[in-house]
């Protein structure tokens, strides 16, 4: 049985697998979408996603890339 931790994704409480990184989170919850991710009030470069493991109570903002104006 896998261990889980609690994080907040766009304000909603969420249980995720312990050790999950940002890339896995994106693949699980926004697969195929062009998104950016902010972790604890810092927008993370996409290249850093696989290295960034989620921690208990992390605050994650995942938002779609848009270009209108």
């Amino acid at each position: 049985m896998s261990e889980h931790i609690e994080i907040y994704l766009n304000g909603d409480r969420l249980q995720v697998s312990k050790g999950m990184d940002l890339l896995q989170l994106q693949q699980q919850y926004a697969a195929g979408q062009q998104v950016a991710i902010a972790l604890n009030s810092a927008v993370m470069p996409r290249r850093c996603w696989p290295e960034q493991r989620l921690q208990m109570q992390d605050q994650v903002l995942m938002f779609n890339l848009v270009a209108g104006g």
Partner: protein, 274 residues
């Protein structure tokens, strides 16, 4: 010459106009009166007002973001603005592009906006670029400006501004919106990340208003944020590191986030993969 000064079209306004460099404190009475409510702010001063009057701002795109941004920068007294947009005013623009009226339909957006702004503040200079900027001209305009506002509606332009501002170490302020989603940012080259650090390089990757629609109050809010950030940037000595303000529709609030640099970023990174 493509650039046309509205001042040339309005000789009566020319008398009221003083070039920013000629303006010295104290402010002339008409300007003191015009800016009086702003001057009452505890952290504002005539000196700060004069500093603003000497500022040069390039605004790329005069649509849903550019209209509110330009309105409030003109009203605040930015001394010299260049408005760039090659599009014409269309009926579907009117609900959110508040500088335009039905009588402006078919007119170039930059020129229609400049005419409207000149009615708002006769003490500033406004020039227009009524066509799409190519990269060489964009680079020249960025070099001229103290600050660049990206109010464009496409990722290709945003990435070009990002790259050229990085090359010239010029601060720039941008925003994007589509549907109920949107965010603004301030990029300070050498102090935090840039737009390319997000890792999205394809101009086709991002959705726009034509596909997803647009919530007009949101794009207006983002344009006002750009204006507010610009006023701070132009008149305060402190340099802020790059950051984003992200709109969360379900909570109807903005979250401010630092924009971290990617050391391997193709645009601003200091290292490259071997």
């Amino acid at each position: 010459m493509a650039i046309k000064s509205i001042q040339q079209d309005q000789p009566s306004m020319a008398a009221a106009f003083q070039s920013p460099s000629a303006l010295q404190p104290p402010l002339p009475d008409p300007q003191f009166l015009y800016y009086s409510r702003q001057l009452l702010l505890p952290d504002w001063s005539e000196q700060r007002q004069v500093q603003l009057s000497r500022s040069k701002v390039l605004i790329v795109g005069i649509g849903g973001l550019g209209c509110p941004a330009a309105t409030y920068l003109a009203g605040a007294g930015v001394g010299w603005m260049v408005l760039a947009d090659g599009d014409q005013v269309e009926q579907s623009n009117l609900p959110r592009q508040t500088l335009f009226r039905l009588s402006d339909l078919g007119l170039n957006k930059a020129e229609a906006a400049a005419a409207s702004l000149k009615q708002l503040n006769p003490f500033i200079r406004i020039d227009t670029i009524p066509h799409q900027l190519d990269e060489a001209e964009l680079a020249r305009r960025i070099a001229w400006a103290d600050l660049v506002l990206d109010c464009s509606d496409n990722l290709a332009t945003k990435l070009a501004i990002n790259r050229l501002c990085q090359q010239q170490q010029r601060c720039w302020i941008g925003a994007s919106a589509s549907g109920y989603q949107g965010y603004s940012w301030l990029i300070q080259p050498g102090n935090g990340g840039c737009l390319s650090c997000l890792g999205h390089q394809s101009p086709l990757a991002a959705g726009g208003c034509l596909q997803q629609g647009i919530y007009s109050p949101l794009v207006g809010q983002l344009g006002l944020q750009q204006a507010s950030l610009a006023l701070q940037q132009l008149t305060m000595a402190r340099q802020r590191p790059s950051f984003m303000q992200i709109y969360q529709h379900h909570q109807q609030q903005f979250s401010q986030c630092q924009l971290l640099a990617d050391p391997r970023c193709e645009c601003c990174g200091v290292t490259t993969d071997v």
